[in-house]
Amino acid sequence: MSKDPTIVAFLCNWCSYTGADLAGTSRMKYNSNIRVIRVMCSGRIGPTFVLKAFREGADGVLICGCHPGDCHYHEGNYKCLRRFHLLQKYVSQLGMDKDRIRLEWISASEGKEFAELVNNFSNKIKEIGKSKVRKTMEEWT
């Protein structure tokens, strides 16, 4: 199913990665096209990682952090939120559909929500189509 879009997800260690683990221990099923990278806090996630993921061929990037107010490091998730909005504005300027980047809050107990999110997001990406970023950047015309 290589035609399926590839999603790179950045999950914070304390809430979202744990939530994703919970989806696993609860044996919930979701789309297999997601590849997770663990960071300690969503505050660690910056535009470089996201742009890099697209540049390497990702079709969608999912960023998950703790719910507002629940950040393990106080406000890292808010910092992520601010960067996320600016990044969306930037990528739209370059012609990329900004919905290819999604930020959601997933708590450690939200295994089900995580599984639903992955399916929902990958459907959204399917709808948008495969990303042309990698191909476009490798083309010299």
Partner: protein
Amino acid sequence: MEEKRIGVYVCWCGTNIAMMVDVKDVSKEMEKLPGVVLAKNYKYMCSDPGQDMIIKDIKKYNLDRIVVAACSPRIHEITFRNALENAGLNPYMLQMANISEQDSWVHTDRIEATRKAKSLVAAAIRRVIHHKPLKKRIVNVHPNTLIIGGGVAGMSAALELSEAGKKSFLIEKSDQLGGTAAKLKLSFPYLNDVVNDISNLIKRVEKSEHIQVILNAEVQEIHGFIGNFNGIVKTTDEKEYSIEFGNTIVATGLKSFDAGKLKNYGYWKYSEVITSIEFELLVKQGVVVNKKGIVPENIAIIHCAGSRNENYNNYCSRTCCMSALKYANQLRNLLPDANIFEMYADMRTFGRGCEELYTSTSRKGIMFLMFDQRAELPLIKEDERGNGVVIEFKELLSGEEIQVPADLVILMVGMEAHENAKSVSHLSGISMDSNGFFIEKHPKLDPVATTTDGVYVVGSCQAPKDIPDSVSQAKAAVARILATILRGTVEVEVTTAEINADICCGCQFCISVCPYGANSFDAANDVSVVNEVLCKGCGTCATACPSGAISTKHFTDEQILSQIEGLMAKVHELEELETN
């Protein structure tokens, strides 16, 4: 770049992984990747033989980096780090790929799951190439402890430390010790008199030579880190204390829910309506009358005032049901002929002796009426037929719209975080949840520590609690503190931020970004510096640093970027393989 010698280990986890991921295929593929010396698969990597295999291989093949593809690093990262350490390798030369919780268990297509596993392991291999050995760091611990809040929790902690002969500063905002518990007459479920208990506790605190009580005081500043804090405490009469301490216990307690917010209950309007706090005062005085001075005949006790309701506080305040039952008993004794109505949303009577109290109370001629929290709250209005008020609502068990006459209504007001919580959270560097309660380090396994080392939360400032829970938490925190004091040293976070002074230009973006105040500006050298003891390694500053001067150990840009590359390279490789 010197040659990397990577060992890759793919775990079967019995059949947990192996049934959905072709582990042999994964390890075979990984062997081909640059830097990989060997790739093995084994039934249970976390078992002793599994770990021994890694240890032997490290020695035999002179491996310098290890990738374990198994379960979540949140489960076994520590296990394998220890294995590396046992083999004489730095524990941080490990990277795990989660092919269980985030692969085999959540997917149904074996081919897809195997493909995903390959990509995750390949990413881990790329990442581990950039891992660097990290050194443990150890600091000394000052034996004094700062305790903020002189309620039951704070006092219990102080006394426990005093037992061990350790000094504590007990800072109380008001002019007396005792906190909320000092306002109570009886305690549930055994209806014991707490007045004496609390005053004895206060006496013991005041007598102790190891406890320095500072009343009418607030903490102004806290600096430093575990083992090495210093702070300034200021009293209302402007006296200032500069103190040094190794650990902090936050026990700032609670604030009662403001009953006036509940429009339906008309707290300000009807003299019949009082709060549970006011009722405690009445029973302490031994006279139960409403604000008109009339001895009530019909008494309604309304549970969940401001709790478990999406318009107010979503959470349960835990103690109100039991207190309400306690009141019913007190009222039955004081006013044997009165009609008593318990109006509850759900009766929550867990804990020893609590269900028993409910059972015995239910046999005392008390009418229990259930209302629906999700619907509109009961409405209190003037009784057209009598002197008092009447409470109108839909009784949930019967589905009947009913009226309850009352000339005394007791609102069981819930607990809220203390209004000082926010400033205390900033002072001590601990997190607050959306309700303003302090967040513990781990909800199950580390419920008294916080994410700031050396700072503990006890009592109702962490979540609504009853007295025994507060006391247990206080004593648990003291046990943790004493352990560090007795050892004299503590280990501190390794995966901290570090600033490359050759690049840092002193723009100071990183200073306010840090929730722990770990970054500061060194004006003499015109660069920012990280206090690695304070730093928790979240990496927010590294991402905020515009020049790339800051990196987060073990989560460097290089490591994450190569992980992305590895992840995607495998995706493309497989994709191309398929299209050809």
